[in-house]
Amino acid sequence: MGFGGCLNWKSEDLSLIDTNSSYAVKPEHIGDVRKTRFKLRPGRTLSQRKWQSAFSEDGHLDIGVVLSRIQRGGVHPSIRGVVWEFLLGCYDPNSTYEDRNRLRQRKMEQYGIWMAECQRMESTVGSGRYIIKPVITEDGQPIQDLSSQGGNASEPGEKTVSTTENSQHFEEALAGTPPLEKTEVNWKRTLHQIGLDVVRTDRALVFYESEANLAKLWTVLAIYAWIDKEIGYCQGMSDLCSPLVILLEDEADAFWCFERMMRRLVCITSLCPIVD
């Protein structure tokens, strides 16, 4: 569809489905989802063994060998997460194991700091739940019906309490409280939008039957929206983030991969050099 097609990714376009159990499709959706063209090719696919042998003793990675394997036969599903960390530039192939451990430690800490910042503003962050209903009005008044989800969230946006009633109710409670910063209001206004999209992301996959996994995707996007105030959250980002949340078990690792991916995408679209 030319340019128009670039604006819209439909469910079939991200071919996520393969033999890896991470991508297992719910039985009722088999047939709805297009099959992957990926095939394991012995001697071509980057296998776990080949991957491990591409590192030197102190951890330098021969990225050339790895890339040529990937180009010829793809990556074995069992190592896709760690491979993406290098492909997206989270780690420098020329670094050592020790360098990377230190860097990862710092990244974990930084993620923890941002998580705590967000938690102070909205307690749902990091609680294993997520939000699908507005928590704040456009003018920054909290909406009482805290709609954190953790249970049955199959239908997005069930009941909402009248916002006018609530703002009246909260006027008293908030008397004397300084108004929220605009950046905080803007961030809070995106939280339910992220939730609405999270429950619609790759939902044919068994992975997202788990509330914890839905919350993981929501949290990564919510924290990203806080640290990148210019982009915040934009529909479509949940689709980009989802494979990383599936492939990287640790939430902070998934976050940093997504952060790198966003940085690269922004650079590609704005033709700026990628700054490390």
Partner: protein, 207 residues
């Protein structure tokens, strides 16, 4: 046979908050199926459907748009040349009803039709199937009052999931858009007649 086998292209734009079921409604109407698979719509997308109305073959070009507020800035490009605007809200989500004013006004502002006061809108209250109607927070009466206050906009309660009232609603969309097109013809006699495709498909009537 009648000689006036005119082919007409009508552009229809679907607007409303995120998650109210715009994509589902469109696909239920065009492909007669409901899927749990839809993702959030990014930017906009369109599909076409041909229907026979009296002696005319009408091609509906239905534009499905993203519900996230920030995509509204793309409106000028997507709304221009529309013959009808379908507003959708979720009867179970009050906010999606409250924002109708905003969608309505923003559409007129950006589409900039010749006569904003008579531009055809249609309102759909979707997801009436949920919880047997027990979770709905916007009554039919309230919705109809809004429609009346906005120049008597036609109103339909729909369920894209159960294919309830979807065909009837879009038939009304086609009729309304067609009527509007007649009006415009008076002022724009020399605007070319839609796109002409040689192939002619039979049937497809939604009546």
């Amino acid at each position: 046979m009648s000689i006036s086998r005119r082919r007409t292209l009508l552009k229809v734009v679907i607007l409303g908050d995120s998650g109210v079921g715009k994509t589902s409604l469109m696909n239920q109407y065009v492909h007669n199926k409901f899927s749990q698979q839809y993702k959030a719509t990014i930017g906009a997308d369109f599909v076409t459907k041909e229907i026979q109305m009296e002696d005319r073959l009408v091609t509906l070009q239905i534009w499905d748009t993203a519900g996230q507020e920030r995509f509204q800035s793309l409106g000028v490009a997507f709304y221009r040349g529309a013959d009808c605007c379908v507003l959708v809200y979720d009867v179970n989500v009050l906010k999606s009803f409250d924002t109708l004013d905003n969608w309505h006004d923003e559409f007129l502002k950006q589409a900039n039709p010749v006569d904003p006061s008579s531009f055809p809108f249609i309102l759909l209250g979707n997801k009436v199937d949920i919880d047997g109607g027990n979770s709905r927070v916007v009554s039919e009466k309230k919705a109809k009052e809004w429609c009346l206050s906005r120049g008597n906009i036609p109103y339909f309660e729909t369920s894209a999931k159960e294919a309830y009232n979807v065909d009837a609603a879009f038939l009304c969309v086609a009729k309304t858009a067609l009527a509007n097109e007649h009006d415009q013809d008076i002022y724009f006699q020399n605007i070319p007649e839609a796109v002409s495709e040689t192939e002619q498909r039979g049937g497809g009537c939604a009546c």
